[in-house]
């Protein structure tokens, strides 16, 4: 038997000699340059894991910090390059076979996430806050060995040996990679995978505090269980929307929702008629996203997790997660479900109102500075939701601006919280902060600037952001929300000012906390926070223009 005859046995199995041309497999087209920010961050995160495996212990810290900072800076440069190349405006398009949208909001939010993470990573790398705690060893905010039981001999041995958890740096990078994809996701599968990619490292980061380890582990368990619960809701919502539209791509779903779909096969005609699929599916996806945002019926995790997590992680999480989650929420509501606006607007109105009021009112009763900032972040989520509800181009750009302004204030404020310490680590109880302004005026003044920005006092970034969001909401026909927003801002201002009064106008206690003198790392974080707060407060116009140029979603 000849070779060709043998060959024909395989290719023409069953004796069928088909002459039809074989359909060629089409390789997917991936625009690697436009995905560069994400790819850089993921690539370096993987390198970071290898560093943990192969680099000797004493060199790991410097290697990891260097790699992380370089990765975030390079990714930011890539975002700026893409924006300069016009991908935010004229060349905005859907990349990676429909999975990722490269447009103005994507690039603006990716830039914001990368810059805030870069600034936050400096607080992760801080090692000089607690020099006397364990003899000659340097001490950072993370457990010597996260696997050892708190208070056990193995923990003491790990501390004595001077171990540190340098794994936090690759974890941060993985998380940032997920956050970069989250607001860019252009189909529901990418949305879900990005959500998990940024959440899973955060659950771990919450559990690795050096001090108050039981609290830290408790925060992680709560965050993990509630986060997994909410992402199950998101996934079931995805299943229902997929069932409704027969596709997970944002554009297709939007067409089916609008009724502007051209080809209707019998199955689609069957499911399209079923509004329950659409409404329940949309509601469940919104539940998952509002959980990540920390809006009121789904905010239960926020105070506990913010309080228990190591403070640098809290700052990073509070800022970057909120930016990413609001980006995804905006894209979902403006690109996928605009045809459903009459249905989701009343619900979002209610959520925004109870979020603003609930966050502001409950914050008044708080006695722990980290819990107070957590409730303040809930109130801010409500303010941002007011901008989201506007459903106008101004709504998008004001939300983008607000997110940029808010994230730097948050990172800076939590960096200041790491400085005020007593024998048990950070002194987070508010009574300990009494008289801080007399003891160390500079730190108290910086914290006062951040609090004023949170409160939205003019000349700070908080004012410009709030003004933009409320103006967009009022123009978008949500005047009632603006009234509630102003009232809850007034309530919120009360507790921010109360902390300032406590710091400057009460007598310092004899056994009060000490204020650590940080290394240039934390100083950089705080300085950048103050600078951005003041620049966005005094001269916001350039950044408002930038945000309004960026505020167009590609479809």
């Amino acid at each position: 038997m000849s070779a060709t005859a043998v060959h024909s046995l395989w290719t023409m199995a069953g004796g069928v000699t088909s002459t039809a041309p074989v359909e060629k497999f089409k390789a997917p087209v991936i625009e690697y340059t436009q995905l560069a920010p994400v790819l850089i961050v993921i690539g370096v995160a993987v390198v970071g894991v290898l560093v943990e495996a192969f680099v000797p212990r004493r060199a790991r810290y410097y290697t990891q910090v260097f790699l992380t900072v370089v990765a975030l800076a390079a990714a930011f440069a890539a975002v700026v390059g893409l924006a300069a190349g016009g991908y935010g405006t004229t060349k905005a398009h859907i990349a990676a076979m429909g999975a990722i949208a490269i447009d103005g909001p994507t690039l603006f939010l990716q830039g914001t996430i990368l810059l805030t993470s870069l600034v936050a990573v400096f607080t992760f790398a801080e090692r000089r806050l607690d020099p006397a705690a364990h003899g000659k060893h340097v001490v950072d905010s993370f457990a010597a060995q996260a696997a050892s039981v708190p208070g056990s001999d193995s923990e003491k041995a790990a501390v004595r040996a001077g171990f540190t958890t340098t794994e936090v740096f690759p974890l941060v990078l993985f998380s940032v990679a997920g956050m970069l994809v989250f607001p860019a996701a252009n189909d529901l599968l990418t949305l879900f995978v990005a959500l998990e990619v940024f959440s899973l490292p955060l659950y771990l980061l919450c559990a690795v505090a050096r001090r108050k380890r039981l609290m830290s582990q408790e925060a992680a368990v709560k965050y993990f269980l509630l986060g997994a619960f909410s992402s199950a809701f998101l996934l079931f919502g995805i299943a229902l929307l997929y069932g409704y539209a027969g596709s997970v791509s944002y554009a297709t779903i939007a067409n089916v929702v609008n009724g502007s779909v051209t080809q209707i096969d019998p199955a689609l005609a069957d499911t399209m008629g079923n509004d329950a699929l659409l409404l329940i599916g949309g509601a469940m996806i919104l539940t998952g996203l509002l959980f990540k945002v920390g809006a009121v019926p789904f905010h239960m995790w926020t105070p506990d997790v913010y309080q228990g997590a190591p403070t640098p992680v809290t700052g990073f999480m509070a800022a970057a997660t909120k930016v990413a989650a609001f980006g995804a929420l905006l894209r979902l509501l403006y690109v996928v479900l605009p045809g459903l606006a009459w249905d989701w607007r009343p619900v979002m109105w209610a959520v925004a109102i109870i979020t603003m009021l609930g966050g502001a009112i409950v914050a008044i009763t708080q006695t722990d500075i980290k819990r107070l900032l957590a409730y303040s972040s809930i109130a801010h989520a409500g303010f941002i939701l007011a901008g989201v509800i506007a459903t106008t181009p101004d709504g998008i750009s004001s939300v983008l601006f607000y997110l940029g302004a808010y994230s730097f204030v948050t990172v800076g404020a939590f960096a200041v919280v790491t400085l005020v310490r007593d024998a048990g680590g950070e002194a987070t109880h508010l009574s300990k902060w009494a008289g801080l302004g007399r003891r160390s005026p500079l730190v108290a003044a910086v914290f006062a600037v951040f609090l004023l920005a949170f409160a939205g006092i003019p000349l700070t970034s908080g004012f410009s952001g709030k003004f933009a969001v409320f103006k967009a909401a009022a123009d978008g026909g949500a005047g009632g929300l603006v009234v509630v927003g102003v009232i809850s801002s007034a309530i919120a201002a009360f507790f921010y000012i109360r902390v300032i009064v406590l710091m400057f106008f009460s007598e310092p206690k004899a056994d009060g906390p000490t204020v650590a003198v940080p290394s240039p790392l934390t100083m950089t974080t705080i300085a950048v926070g103050v600078a951005v707060t003041l620049v966005l407060g005094l001269a916001p116009q350039y950044f408002l223009d930038l945000a309004s140029q960026a505020g167009v979603f590609v479809r």
């Binding site: 659950y203 609290m215 582990q217 997994a228 199950a232």
Partner: protein, 99 residues
């Protein structure tokens, strides 16, 4: 057989899982209930995939399994570390931060 029955089953499983998360008190059981919810999602996805005659839903089911596996790795690590330091996996005992 009408595929809609599988959707009813998926919804039922999802509800059982959600109720379990809200009612049960052991972190491991809670976690198993979350996994049940994810698998209910998988069933719904595969059923819709069959109804629409495209493969998207089945592909998503694979991704869900991978994500669930990753979640197990992270979740068990956290739950076990909590159990080792407290000798309890009850979520009612985790109340250091109550107001």
């Amino acid at each position: 057989m009408n595929p809609v029955y599988y959707l009813y089953l998926a919804a039922l499983l999802f509800t059982i899982g959600a109720a379990g998360v809200l009612i049960r008190r052991n972190a491991i059981v809670l976690f198993m209930c979350v996994e049940l919810m994810l698998n209910a999602c998988n069933l719904a996805l595969v059923t819709f995939s069959r109804m629409h005659g495209n493969l998207d839903g089945q592909i998503i089911a694979f991704f869900t399994m991978v994500v669930a596996a990753a979640e197990v790795v992270v979740g068990l690590a956290i739950i076990v570390s909590v159990f080792r330091s407290r000798h309890s996996a009850s979520v009612d005992d985790a109340s250091l931060m109550k107001l």
